[in-house]
């Protein structure tokens, strides 16, 4: 005989405004099996939870329904309260009468009626709930960090300094990411190399960190605490154990005119190369697409000069599988390709460059040694136009969002330009100046007031190259209400920050969700900003949304603390929502075994006392089962069921709808 308690929350006015909570409580009191029904202003508050706990003891409740917000919000809160009162937490269910009812309907009568239905459905379900025990699983105390930019480096160092092992996977030849390419950083103008390279070196030398550069995540299986990750170690054609990074090879390489990715195409590199002089590891790899030996079969200049015979043209991709307990995604961002803008020259104008190209021009270690020289003729530009929001906040280009970092780095560019070209004029076209952050607005004001950048609010309608090489920039000054034409020598576009082209593919390997733009989704936009919906997978940096360095570092440290908390216990409890096989009924058709996405079901031989196999049935591995229930739907003999969502429970829910509708 079930004794169910129903607790209806007003959520202040959030529920009570559209749902007659008193009527719902009264209706619930009349439902079969309900022995107690009350409403309260804030059920999730301390006194509210106490109300639930007291009622469990006083009324000897065997089941509880809390009609309040979404279970995604407070199910764990109330289940913990139930457990504290001695009731198995899985005997408590929530009716979502806020997100699914009071907030989405306006008519009070209809909303109240629906709330009663939702409560009745859960009452019928909870009467059939079974006490479940959490499943204990072991945790492999090694973290995988994907991406070796500043976010990945910070996360890796924090976890490693916390005493746990880290595997850091980086797809490029060197770690450092975008930050290593920057000249100076806002709002303090400290040199990026100076603050970045010590950390890169620390990663390489840290005893707890295994660094895998030129590597990518190939596949992921397993679950929280027990992920199996296969890593593709791409053919580098250079044996890192032998190579000393002496540089003989790249000095001799005859393929010298390859645009350098690190230098945003401003400088060139060779086919065997290190991305930058500060690379970590400071050892080269061969770009197979441009290597003469690998494409045409003859050359081998690098192999001839290598004093250590470290070059192996027969190298192939290798795969390595590692076991990790947690994964931090720190795969960063890309800049949008502005060639989609016909009005900015459709990518054909050499002197129309993006922010990274300007960083490389301004960087002391860049191809121009820090001199601002425009790419077409290597002269010093005397007028530079900076165009903000290039792609960002443009719904037509598919990016309605603000890229967040461009206002700041454009102000920095204008400043660096003024510091390097004293007789130059920087003109910045902006839509709004978004400089929220410590010391940020002061920084923009400095660019305008101390360094003389001319800020014009307005958009650019056209950039084209006149026969004499000048770039004609035409637009509107929307504050003055006049058209503007500027004869510029160089134009710098603040291209939108976009997700990596393959971010969706990586997300799908992990089961992590992503937004419409390919940025990874956090578990909760406010309260769980570093977790994903997949337990054990965390986010750091711009792979989640456009972010500047301080924000990326903060999130990386937050992710690291989550990982360290997870690793602080050797075992952890997991939700017991798993499939169960009725062995008496199973006729071993293997449909579930073939269907299970986690390979959690296998054959179980049932033997008699002589050890002779009498029957074979399906058997669920509790550690592997994730509780999707796909096996239940394919079972032909109804011999497998899902705890928490049994056929009996769902049928009862449906029947509960009927009892009032007819």
């Amino acid at each position: 005989m079930s004794r169910v308690g129903v607790f209806i929350c007003h959520c202040g006015e959030n529920i009570a405004r559209t749902v007659d909570v008193v009527a719902v409580a009264a209706a619930a009191a009349r439902m079969p099996g309900v022995v107690h029904s009350v409403e309260y202003k804030y059920m999730c508050s301390d006194p509210g939870q106490q109300l639930v706990k007291n009622a469990i003891a006083e009324h000897k409740l065997t089941g509880v329904v809390v009609a309040a917000c979404s279970p995604r919000m407070h199910e764990s809160t109330f289940r913990r309260a139930a457990a504290e009162a001695g009731l198995n937490p899985y005997l408590l269910e929530m009716s979502n009468v806020r997100e699914h009812c009071s907030w989405v309907h306006e008519d009070k009568a209809l909303a109240t009626e629906k709330a009663v239905d939702l409560v009745r459905v859960m009452v019928e379900k909870v009467r059939r709930n079974r006490a479940l025990k959490p499943i204990s699983i072991s945790v492999e105390p090694t973290a995988l960090v994907v991406g070796g930019g500043i976010a990945g480096i910070q996360a890796a160092l924090d976890i490693a300094n916390g005493g746990k092992k880290v595997i850091l996977v980086e797809r490029e030849l060197s770690i450092g990411g975008h930050m290593a390419r920057l000249s100076e950083t806002f709002p303090t103008l400290d040199c990026s190399q100076c603050i970045m390279t010590p950390r890169m070196v620390e990663v390489a030398s840290h005893p707890n960190i295994t660094l895998m550069t030129w590597s990518e995540v190939e596949s992921v299986s397993g679950f929280l605490g027990n992920f199996d990750v296969t890593i593709r170690r791409k053919a580098r054609y250079v044996d890192l154990a032998k190579c000393t990074g002496c540089g003989e090879c790249w000095n001799k390489c005859p393929a010298k005119k390859i645009p350098s990715e690190f230098d945003a195409g401003i400088g060139n590199r060779t086919a065997i190369y290190v991305p930058s002089p500060q690379a970590v590891p400071n050892k080269p790899g061969i770009d197979a697409k441009n290597c003469i030996m690998l494409t045409k079969g003859k050359c081998g200049a690098c192999a001839k000069v290598c004093p250590r015979q470290a070059i192996d043209f027969k190298d192939v991709d290798k795969f390595e599988t590692v076991k990790v307990g947690a994964i931090v995604l720190a795969t960063g961002f890309e800049l949008w390709d502005h060639s989609a803008y016909g009005e900015y020259g459709a990518g054909r104008l050499k002197d129309v460059i993006d922010g990274f190209a300007f960083e490389r021009l301004a960087s002391a270690s860049g191809p121009t040694s820090g001199q601002i020289l425009r790419p077409s003729d290597h002269t010093e530009p005397k007028t530079v136009v900076f165009i903000q929001c290039c792609g960002s906040r443009d719904t037509k280009m598919g990016m309605p969002y603000c890229s967040k970092i461009c206002c700041m780095y454009t102000a920095k560019h204008a400043m660096l330009y003024a510091h390097k070209v004293h007789d130059g004029q920087a003109v910045v076209f902006y839509m709004d100046i978004r400089a929220a952050g410590k010391g940020y607005d002061e920084f923009v004001r400095r660019a305008i007031e101390a360094d003389g950048a001319r800020y014009v609010r307005g958009r650019i309608s056209r950039v084209y190259r006149r026969a004499d090489g000048k770039l004609i920039v035409r637009g509107a000054d929307t504050l003055a209400g006049t058209p503007v034409t500027i004869e510029a020598d160089m134009v710098v576009l603040a291209d939108a920050v976009v997700a990596r082209k393959d971010s969706r593919a990586l997300a799908q390997k992990l089961g992590v969700s992503y937004d419409a733009y390919g940025f990874f989704s956090e578990a909760h936009p406010k309260l769980r900003p570093v977790e994903t919906a997949v337990a054990g997978v965390y986010l750091a940096g711009a792979c989640q949304a456009p972010k500047d360095i301080p924000d990326a570092v903060s999130q990386a440290s937050a992710s690291a603390s989550k990982v360290l908390a997870l690793f602080s216990k050797p075992k952890l409890d997991r939700e017991p929502i798993i499939a169960r096989v009725n062995r008496n009924n199973c006729d071993h058709c293997r449909a579930c075994i073939n269907t299970c996405p986690y390979k959690a079901i296998s054959d179980l031989e049932i033997k008699d006392r002589n050890g002779k196999v009498v029957r074979v049935v399906a058997d669920v591995n509790e550690g592997l089962c994730q509780g999707c229930g796909t096996c239940v739907a394919v079972c032909r003999s109804r011999s497998i069921d899902l705890d928490g969502f049994t056929d009996e429970q769902v049928f009862a829910e449906l029947a509960a709808l009927e009892s009032q509708t007819k």
């Binding site: 016909g342 009005e343 054909r348 084209y464 004609i472």
Partner: protein, 288 residues
């Protein structure tokens, strides 16, 4: 494409006579036929939609309804303004289900879409797809050409399929005719449009900039598809020259004229001798 509806509009009977002659010749050379819509009326052009939106739709609506009644499924509107009005009406009908009924009340005709409208640029590309290049027996070898689209052949998101900021639709035909396309910057710049009469100074300013830019880029001719652009760049070039803004020697061709020349047509038969800026020397560039 054997039979194609033809909507000449006002300008092809007036200032744009060369466009009319050359389009008819081009279609003939390609082995197709034009059938002019009987009893056609004004498309409304720039004036109607400044005065009355219903009128601006009703005029082209009637033309399209007539085309449908006369069994035409595809209509060529060589004038860019006519093209924009006619195709724009199809787009409006598709977006607003109530519009057809309203237009029926005004015009007394039934029409709800279904007549495809093509521009002279689209015509060229259609003919190319059907093997027009094989008829280019006298290509204009290495003639340096600046393709000029103006507004009506580059803009209107639902009307023109080309990139409004970087139009390229004329390039395949121009290249097939043997010409070389110069990279230039003002292919979709305003020529002054309908202000040719009322604000001549503005047209002189705007068109002079286009001519200067084309010349600086090394063009020997500008190629366009719009009679309005043509009159501003060709006829007004004399006023531009008199204002000391230009040498007055840059011929402006219709795309259809260029293609006819490459196919060995008689220059006079397509009206090449009717230009204000002498275009006849270009005919000599055509080499069998």
């Amino acid at each position: 494409m054997t039979v194609l509806g033809y909507y000449p509009g006002c300008s092809l009977h007036g200032g744009g006579r060369e466009l009319d002659l050359s389009v008819r010749e081009l279609v003939r050379l390609a082995g197709a036929q034009l059938r002019e819509i009987a009893d056609w009326n004004c498309c409304g052009a720039t004036s109607a939609h400044c005065m009355n939106h219903d009128l601006a739709v009703a005029l082209p609506f009637r033309v399209l309804a007539l085309a449908k009644e006369q069994g035409l499924t595809r209509v060529l509107a060589p004038c860019a303004a006519c093209f924009s009005r006619l195709k724009g009406t199809n787009v409006r009908l598709a977006n607003d289900p109530a519009l057809a009924t309203k237009m029926k009340d005004i015009t007394g005709h039934d029409y709800a879409g279904g007549v495809e409208v093509i521009s002279c640029v689209e015509l060229a590309n259609l003919l190319l797809a059907e093997g027009l290049a094989g008829k280019f027996t006298a290509p204009l070898k290495d003639l340096k050409v600046a393709p000029y689209y103006g507004c009506l052949l580059s803009r209107g998101q639902d009307i023109v399929t080309d990139d409004a900021e970087n139009p390229v639709a004329m390039e395949p035909a121009i290249q097939a005719a043997g010409c070389q396309i110069v990279p230039w910057n003002l292919a979709n710049e305003c020529c002054g449009g309908g202000f040719s009469m009322s604000l001549k100074d503005a047209v002189v300013d705007l068109s002079a900039a286009i001519l200067d830019e084309a010349r600086a880029a090394g063009a020997e001719a500008i190629v366009t598809g719009c009679p309005m652009c043509h009159s501003n760049l060709d006829m007004r070039q004399l006023a531009i020259r008199d204002a000391g803004r230009s040498a007055g020697d840059l011929p402006v061709l219709y795309l259809s004229e260029l293609l006819c020349l490459a196919a060995g047509a008689d220059p006079k038969a397509i009206g090449l001798d009717a230009h204000f800026i002498d275009a006849m020397p270009l005919a000599a560039r055509s080499q069998p």
